[in-house]
Symmetry: C2
Subunit: 347 residues, 2 copies
DNA sequence: GTCACAATTGGAAGCGTTTTCAATTCGGCG
DNA sequence: CGCCGAATTGAAAACGCTTCCAATTGTGAC
């Protein structure tokens, strides 16, 4: 393994000059720079980041904490984060805390504090103020995506407003019997989006003078399969059926559509369904949705972070609202004139 | 920021002893160990991994290179890898190379060589021998999952055998008009699974004396939406229709099922579909599949790697076949007696 | 109560860079 | 041609640990 020393010798320069030449910092004559780079290339030399970090205090490494990379939203964000980070020459250390609260705790307390990362991106995690302060105390900027982080910068979409818009879309089409599928309790714990979206739903319903029926407020776990099961309950019950469902995520909307098909309900003829996300699968189902460009959110988070790191200006906590896009496809339409069909469709 | 020196003072021990106590290595009396740990806890001290790594040469960090965390298989593997790594106190540096060959190249040549990772896990990537040697040369063990890595350890499922088994399952049910959906050319490039699976399919067909029709060999991009489009072509054509489809992944199988439903084809009554993966969504569709436990593969990769790292025995390249599980659900059945129904079903 | 040997402990030399500070060189101007 | 400030350069001191080596302490056997 060649060291910077070898490069210096080969280039006929001092270690210090080579260091400056390779890192791009400081004043180095073009001639020296070239020599250093040539020598490094010839020796196949790459800086040891450990030594660099130790000496400079900068890591070129960002920690990303996600509830589970296996989920659509998080993996989308990670893709955006990863691409932007790699472009900037940064490494990305992934902390996937899907194992539960213990894992989350150990990551926050054992891993992140080891001075290995320059900054932290927390996706949909509700960190306590103490946890945030702990990180800020060791000069680790944090930016949160889609989670309330008191005292830290965040990027978020207007959950409440979007939910209102989605609901209003249904209302404007003429629906009044609208169900809402949201995340279940376990999700509220970590990221409280579901609640926020539910708030928007209720607000829109109230504004339109429509009744929110408790039995039409169902929950699922944000997955297609979970929503499918919930939707079967909702749509298969003998009681009255809604004419539209607003699901708090595309995956849940898709689960709902699948359940509806099982019952012979045509979407959107018998049942309108709208989601939130911009999931790739939406197209297959003609899903009307609100695209939140998760990748873009990840990319933006990195840009904010890097800007902060490089300017060394602490910047303070900023709260950025990320724009979303209403995508109307074919899963929403005017409600059936004759009211909902019986559960056992004429299939 | 407290340093190990502060801990040593507070504990009334030498720096060396504290270091040994905290790292668990070397002989330290229980009494000293306790003192050191107590002092560290009181000061909120955590080792600086940079300094540790620099001094010891060990990083406690594994690099994971994946084609795209946004895809089912890769994110599953990453979950398994992450959990096992975190348990062992290791960090996971994620290199998501979905941006294409340039990104792949820069990761392999700029990032991985910076001595930041102790080992590399490459998922479904076909590395050149040169790339592998480059890594091995700097003492970075590599283990590959689902990709041929000449000279490195690998974990793989028996792709060919599985494909044969899946095909035989259909044949045994009485099918003879069997289509196969596999990955398209762009996928062949990076990981050549599709080809291997296709080989198994052809082998089973040949063994049963069945004809492989070129027009029933379709390709897709491994996603539900991509397969859906391909399957529409396959099933909607005016030509004869197969009675069964063997898809090289569950997502493609699901896309096929969705397309079939669009045409009013009942699964499995009119069309049997089988996949490979063990995708969570399989249950919703009653998909018969071969579960390859991607998480388990990730976990195993880490265990192999860590065993190698800790024993310092280079071990040489091992090739481990990972077991799979045949899961029969309701998407496969005997073929329709009266032959396939016309494209426009009596829905 | 000794002695040999093992278990602990502390001192200090790195690990491979970055960066400060002072020294040196260079270019331009009077 | 000589002088001055700016641009370059090099020496050496960190950075915060790990670990070798030697010194010290503890243990059990005789």
């Amino acid at each position: 393994m060649p060291g910077i020393k070898d490069v210096a010798e080969r280039a006929g320069l001092s270690i210090a000059t080579v260091s400056r030449a390779l890192s791009g910092k400081g004043n180095v004559s073009p001639r020296s720079r070239e020599r250093a780079q040539a020598a490094a290339a010839e020796l196949g030399f790459v800086l040891s980041y450990h030594a660099s970090s130790l000496a400079s205090g900068r890591n070129h490494n960002v920690g990303v904490v996600v509830p589970s990379v296996h989920r659509w939203f998080f993996s989308s964000v990670v893709e955006g984060v990863s691409a932007t980070l790699l472009d900037a020459g940064y490494d990305l250390t992934l902390y996937n805390v899907s194992e539960g609260p213990d894992r989350r705790h150990s990551v926050l307390n054992d891993f992140l504090l080891r001075k290995r990362v320059d900054a932290v991106i927390a996706v949909s995690l509700e960190l306590s103020e103490a946890e945030i302060q702990q990180l800020l105390a060791i000069h680790r900027p944090i930016v949160g995506i889609g989670g309330p982080l008191p005292g830290a910068s965040t990027i978020r979409i207007n959950d409440s407003g979007i939910a209102e818009a989605a609901t209003n879309h249904l209302i404007r089409l003429g629906h009044s019997r609208i169900a809402h599928m949201t995340g279940d309790a376990s999700y509220q714990q970590d990221f409280r989006l579901p609640g926020t979206r539910q708030g928007g739903f209720e607000k829109a319903m109230a504004a339109a003078g429509l009744q929110v029926r408790p039995e039409w407020q169902v929950t699922a776990d944000f997955t297609i399969q979970g929503a499918y099961a919930s939707a079967r309950q909702l749509l298969g019950g003998s009681s009255e059926r809604p004419t539209a469902v607003f699901a708090a995520s595309d995956e849940m909307a898709i689960g709902t559509i699948l359940a509806a098909r099982d019952f012979g309900l045509r979407v959107p003829h018998d049942l309108s369904v709208i989601g939130i996300d911009g999931h790739e699968l939406g197209e297959v189902f003609g899903l009307t949705t609100i695209d939140q460009d998760a990748r873009g959110q990840g990319a933006l988070a990195v840009r904010l972070l890097l800007a902060g790191l490089e300017d060394a200006a602490d910047g303070g906590a900023t709260d950025t609202e990320f724009p979303t896009k209403f995508v109307v496809r074919s899963s929403t339409a005017v409600p059936p004139v004759d009211g909902p069909r019986p559960a056992d469709g004429s299939r």
